[in-house]
Symmetry: C2
């Protein structure tokens, strides 16, 4: 147990609570900031100061009353959950010491306390910022490597390619030897970003006419791998342009999360899917510790070799910035993974 060098700890701190379950569109009214006492760690527990908080589109699903995800939903009146990186500031456990950098699902608060087992100790110094440990890389890596098995010679299409998952998924495909990586996104600026900075071979704006026509131009021999973050028209177009035995990793349905209807329930052309022998594998982004480790091992290597960048946005301004950040993320305002910096230190 270690209590030395403890920084100054306030008596109260802020957390953000969900005011009511999400029925329609997310607004700032769904978030309420409250001041709460900073807890003392009991035996076996630690007190952690949150340094960075991650934001993700999937959080909106967890806010809905009919949430189907196999994890605890976000309930009205309670603190919002989600991934966070922080620093141990008090320890009543011999497993973690003051100063340790840790990852947890402690959620939207400036401080959290709990059993040391709920906090995973992170290695220091392998990345430029602790925010790298809030990447959506485990999802991108599991989907591209284990589900879609992208590899040598594959023509890969990533929808929502500039998002938190997509911006890593395309790079992972490239690092695994894909012949050609194509991305869809929502603006000319993001197209340039995908091609110039993330190494995509081609990218297009899904607003620019039928997606199926863009794909036929950019992948005249068909796509072998589809990593879908969007659903809707992009899914339907991928089925129409799939090469035989193409593998689809369906990770998200952003179009449905925003638009509902057809976007969330695209049509599946059965005869084409059958004759092309497609492999369609939707998967949820909940990962085993082994899957998370597999990502960070490759992430550290590829990042160290300069073969992969970590596209991310860090929002400054502390916890109060988080609600606005969620709305911005849903509206496609940011590039890559989005985190809120909670501490200014």
């Amino acid at each position: 147990m270690s209590t030395h060098n403890a920084p100054e700890i306030p008596r109260t701190a802020r957390e953000v609570r969900l005011t009511e379950q999400l029925e329609g569109e997310l607004t700032l009214d769904h978030f309420g900031i409250v001041q709460t006492p900073v807890p003392q760690p009991n035996v076996g527990e630690v007190l952690v100061r949150t340094d960075y908080l991650s934001l993700a589109a999937a959080y909106t699903d967890l806010m809905r009353p009919d949430c189907q995800l196999p994890v605890p939903p976000f309930l009205a009146g309670e603190r919002l959950g989600g991934g966070a990186v922080g620093t141990v500031v008090r320890s009543a456990s011999d497993k973690l010491a003051v100063g340790d950098l840790v990852h947890s699902m402690s959620g939207w608060s400036e401080y959290s306390a709990g059993p040391a087992e709920a906090y995973a100790k992170l290695p220091a110094g392998i990345f430029p910022s602790p925010a790298y440990f809030l990447s959506q890389g485990p999802t991108a890596y599991y989907g591209m490597a284990d589900i879609a098995r992208a590899g040598e010679g594959d023509v890969v299409f990533v929808s929502g390619a500039a998002g938190g998952v997509g911006s890593l998924a395309g790079q992972i495909a490239r690092c695994r030897g894909a012949a050609r990586v194509i991305g869809s996104t929502g603006s000319k600026e993001k197209i340039d970003y995908l091609v110039d900075e993330l190494g995509y071979d081609a990218a297009f704006d899904y607003h620019d006419g039928p997606v199926v026509e863009r794909l036929r131009e950019l992948a005249p021999n068909g796509i072998n791998v589809f990593f879908d973050n969007v659903g809707g028209e992009q899914f339907e177009a991928a089925v129409q342009t799939a090469a035989p035995h193409a593998r689809f990793a369906l990770c998200g349905a952003l179009a449905g999360q925003i638009g509902g209807g057809r976007a969330a329930h695209p049509r599946l052309d059965l005869m084409r899917a059958i004759t092309r022998h497609l492999e369609i594998r939707p998967f949820a982004c909940y990962h085993t510790p082994e899957q998370v480790s597999a990502w960070y091992e490759h992430f550290a290597q590829w990042h160290g070799e300069g073969r992969l960048v970590f596209p991310h946005t860090t929002l400054e301004g502390g916890l109060a910035r988080a609600p606005e950040g969620m709305l911005g993320l849903l509206n496609g305002r940011y590039r890559g993974n989005v985190a809120v910096r909670i501490t200014s230190g």
Copy 2:
């Protein structure tokens, strides 16, 4: 080379040709019977008398001008193709002898000739009738064993369960240890057939209200395996009632072959598929020799042990019966695999 014991061979024989590519609904006008010379086998070839001809719903896809199947389509003015079992009546090859029972894709004709390599010699005596070698078992077995991997404890749903593929698929699941096998079909008579004769635990008529309600009643804990021959509403209902990590083997889209529209392009509920981590694998029924062998090995064993019956209909009356047989098959008139007996001997 053997020419002894050759039975009397006519100079001309009948074949059935496709009169025009199929655009709308299949009618008797799409078939034309013509008399053609019986060929002489050249060196390395055999002449085979067709004994049984198989009929399958997939043939209609091969008749369409926009056929997407990765095999030669059926062309207007040419003999219809498809699987057949016959007897070698003349041989100019040392690979096959007169009297050998053979399987080939020689199609709708009373006689055919070709290289010995195009005819697979069949073992005599392991089944009650040569028509057993026209089973759609390779498709059912590959789909259930390799694609859906049905096994111990699984709750299995087979759509189109009384058809050529479905009637075997359910039994294969049972032989592989499934806990519960549920089938959908189109009449009360077929429900009784599935339960009383094929050992289904439960069956329902898809005309009797929403399929999703029937499935919720019959599989309250969800289905683990879905073997789809139909598409449309049955596919959508299976997604709604799938247990986590359910495996879908999509084999056919009979609803679409008949009805088109929504039937052929059902909606995929992406969020449900993602949160349930479904594995959706459409596959086409073209098999490697290894896949065919795997089926016949299990078929002979399970049939010999009395654990599996071969549901089939043999239409008598020779080649002229085949066109009408195709229409009857598409209208659900028969049970199990359908073959036309060409020879009366």
